[in-house]
């Protein structure tokens, strides 16, 4: 609203008598002039001892705000049980006002969105979750079957489209994965080097960084970046396709949307995540080594320490996880996209849910892997 506008000229003069209150209106009844006199006019009507007369002989224009004022005055007078009359309103405005069904202005219907109170809410949420679980289980099954079918008939893969997905999910993610992993290595090394130096064991920072990055942080950081970047992109893309009825078009053409849209993306996730994870591990270790070099360790010493600290088993432990993380991130993104509701807000909702669910499942899976690795001494 423009706050600099000067006050509009008063269009209202109130004349109170014993049997009637007359509201003399004049000039233009538009949003500006009506806004200036709204409360005074209604207060005059509410305080009237008798009938209310609205004198419009001086009115030369009446817009919607003027009609709203008449309707509000009429409602006030009806509440008080005294009649209201409008006199002198030009016929063309009178005709428009008479055409308004004033009773309908007092109510505003809305469809029944009630669910029967909190009991109903619990029921709806429970039924929704049950439906979600069923759909999620079906989706996992369909994607699994799709991947098996693809392994048996690899020519069914639309390689050109699939390669574009791989490019977007994989090589386009290299800068951000590299930067985050490098900085993670730097942070761990810095945090560990100072206290370990007090005990004269700061060379073992290399072991710490190498183990942490290969077994945990490399796969986890890569998966989280992919969930935020690739999983959300899958959800938004497929969600928009669903809103635009492209998914419905696939279905009516006899093409299974899961096989056509989800399977190539999940396959891309499974392929690129381990590659990005290896790259992330290398960047993380490089970050740690950079810090160690800054605190005066020669590179040859660090490499010697690293070769002793890092085993193929550590890298394998991280890589095995990354296959599953890739499948989860891509799968959740596709599933959320395919389960998008109606309207543009639904796409945003699907995208958000894909990221939240993706990260949650990554952490859950990582915890499961930690327990399994411990028990099998891997």
């Amino acid at each position: 609203m423009d706050g600099d506008r000067s006050a509009p000229p008063s269009i209202l003069r109130v004349e109170s008598g014993e049997t009637a209150t007359t509201l003399h209106l004049s000039g233009r009844l538009d949003d500006e002039t009506v806004a200036a006199c709204w409360h005074r006019a209604l207060a005059a009507a509410a305080g009237s001892a008798g009938r209310i007369e609205v004198d419009c002989r001086g009115v030369d224009y009446c817009g919607g705000a003027g009609f709203a004022l008449f309707a509000a005055l009429e409602e006030k007078s009806e509440e008080r049980g005294s009649p209201m009359t409008i006199v002198g309103l030009a016929p063309r405005f009178r005709e428009l006002f008479d055409a308004i069904d004033r009773r309908k202005l007092r109510v505003s219907a809305a469809p029944d969105r009630g669910r029967g109170g909190w009991v109903g809410d619990i029921g709806y949420v429970a039924a929704g979750r049950a439906g979600d679980w069923r759909a999620e289980t079906e989706f996992v099954g369909e994607v699994g079957a799709g991947l098996v079918s693809l392994a048996r008939h690899p020519r069914r893969l639309r390689v050109r489209e699939w390669w574009k997905i791989v490019e977007k999910a994989g090589s386009d993610a290299l800068p951000i994965v590299g930067l985050i992993s490098f900085l993670t290595g730097v942070i761990i090394a810095f945090q560990a080097a100072m206290p370990m130096r007090q005990f004269g064991v700061d060379i073992f920072v290399v072991n710490l960084v190498a183990l942490a990055v290969t077994r945990e942080l490399g796969p986890i950081m890569t998966a989280i970046v992919l969930a935020g970047r690739t999983g959300s992109a899958f959800a938004a893309e497929i969600g928009t396709m669903k809103v635009n009825e492209e998914v419905a078009a696939l279905t009516t053409m006899g093409l299974d949307p899961v096989r056509f849209l989800a399977v190539p993306r999940v396959l891309a996730g499974i392929v690129v995540t381990p590659l990005l994870t290896v790259y992330s591990m290398a960047a993380g270790i490089a970050g740690g080594l950079a810090v160690m070099m800054l605190i005066d360790f020669p590179l040859s010493t660090l490499m010697n320490q690293l070769s002793g600290a890092l085993k193929l088993q550590d890298i394998s432990a991280g890589l095995i996880k990354s296959f599953f993380f890739g499948a989860v991130v891509a799968g959740v993104g596709c599933m959320r996209g395919l389960r998008t509701g109606a309207g543009p807000a639904a796409v945003g909702d699907a995208t958000t849910r894909s990221v939240v669910t993706g990260i949650f499942l990554i952490v859950v899976l990582d915890a499961i892997f930690a327990v399994v690795y411990y028990n099998i001494d891997f």
């Binding site: 609203m1 949003d31 709204w38 409360h39 709203a68 309908k104 505003s108």
Partner: protein, 251 residues
């Protein structure tokens, strides 16, 4: 600008990314009339409309709304011009998170000093004027496409503009709903004196409600005048084909 003109387009060149779609076109819309911009798909109807409302910057020329040039207008001057008219878009463009009352009340909230009860009453009144009395609590997703377009008209009318621009109001609507929208336009024009500028290619609407039309083809205006006269006495082959094929399709 003449006394009866509410919109005047002077030597307008408009397009996208430096490529003109419309070249050097001029016409005038008279106060109180229902003026339609006709043409086939891709003829530049929507481009012209969006240049007239200042949504796209014109490449050259002037668009005078109530005597003021919207091309190049900035800041409060532009806001002043924008308040003179309302616009509805092809898809309705209602805000999905707000119910109909809130959609209509939004411009009132932003541009007027009316108290909240007045805004609510006025929003309901506008909805009633487009035949949606009592539907104020509905969300756009809970009503039909035709009702959404009516609600969009109500929102465009919220500030009592004397001029409304409608972009393809009948697109995607069934004939009955489309005819209902035509009736609404005619009634608002007759009763409230609103001037309408409508981009359309719906022949039934054109013949039913348009006072005057311009027809676009090949980047320019190929015909101008009363649509019934143009139908009966086409001035060129394109006009003849437009009305003949439209009539055949309608039949």
């Amino acid at each position: 600008m003449s006394a009866d003109g509410i919109v005047e387009v002077k030597r307008l060149t408009a397009g996208y990314a430096g490529q003109p779609v419309l070249r050097d076109i001029s016409f005038r819309v008279r106060r109180g009339e229902i003026f339609m911009i006709l043409g086939g798909s891709g003829s530049g109807k929507s481009t012209l409309l969006k240049n007239m409302i200042g949504l796209y910057p014109a490449m050259a020329g002037e668009v005078l709304i109530g005597g003021e040039d919207i091309v190049g207008a900035r800041g409060s001057r532009r806001e002043g011009i924008l308040r003179k008219f309302g616009v509805t878009y092809q898809g309705g463009a209602l805000f999905g998170s707000m119910n109909l009352e809130s959609n209509v009340a939004l411009p009132l909230e932003e541009w007027t000093r009316l108290p909240s009860d007045a805004r609510l009453l006025l929003a309901r009144l506008k909805l009633q004027q487009v035949g949606l009395g009592g539907f104020g609590g509905y969300l756009p997703s809970e009503i039909s496409g035709g009702m959404q377009k009516r609600a969009a008209v109500a929102r465009a009318m919220a500030l009592d503009p004397g001029l409304l621009f409608l972009d393809e109001p009948s697109s995607g609507l069934d004939p009955v709903t489309s005819a209902g929208l035509d009736d609404l336009v005619r009634s608002l024009s007759r009763n409230l004196g609103i001037t309408f500028v409508i981009a359309s290619h719906e022949l039934s609407s054109i013949l039913a409600i348009a006072d005057r039309v311009i027809m676009l083809d090949g980047g320019g205006i190929v015909a101008e005048g009363d649509p019934r006269e143009l139908r009966d006495r086409p001035t060129n082959d394109y006009v003849r084909a437009f009305f003949r094929h439209g009539k055949e399709r309608a039949a």
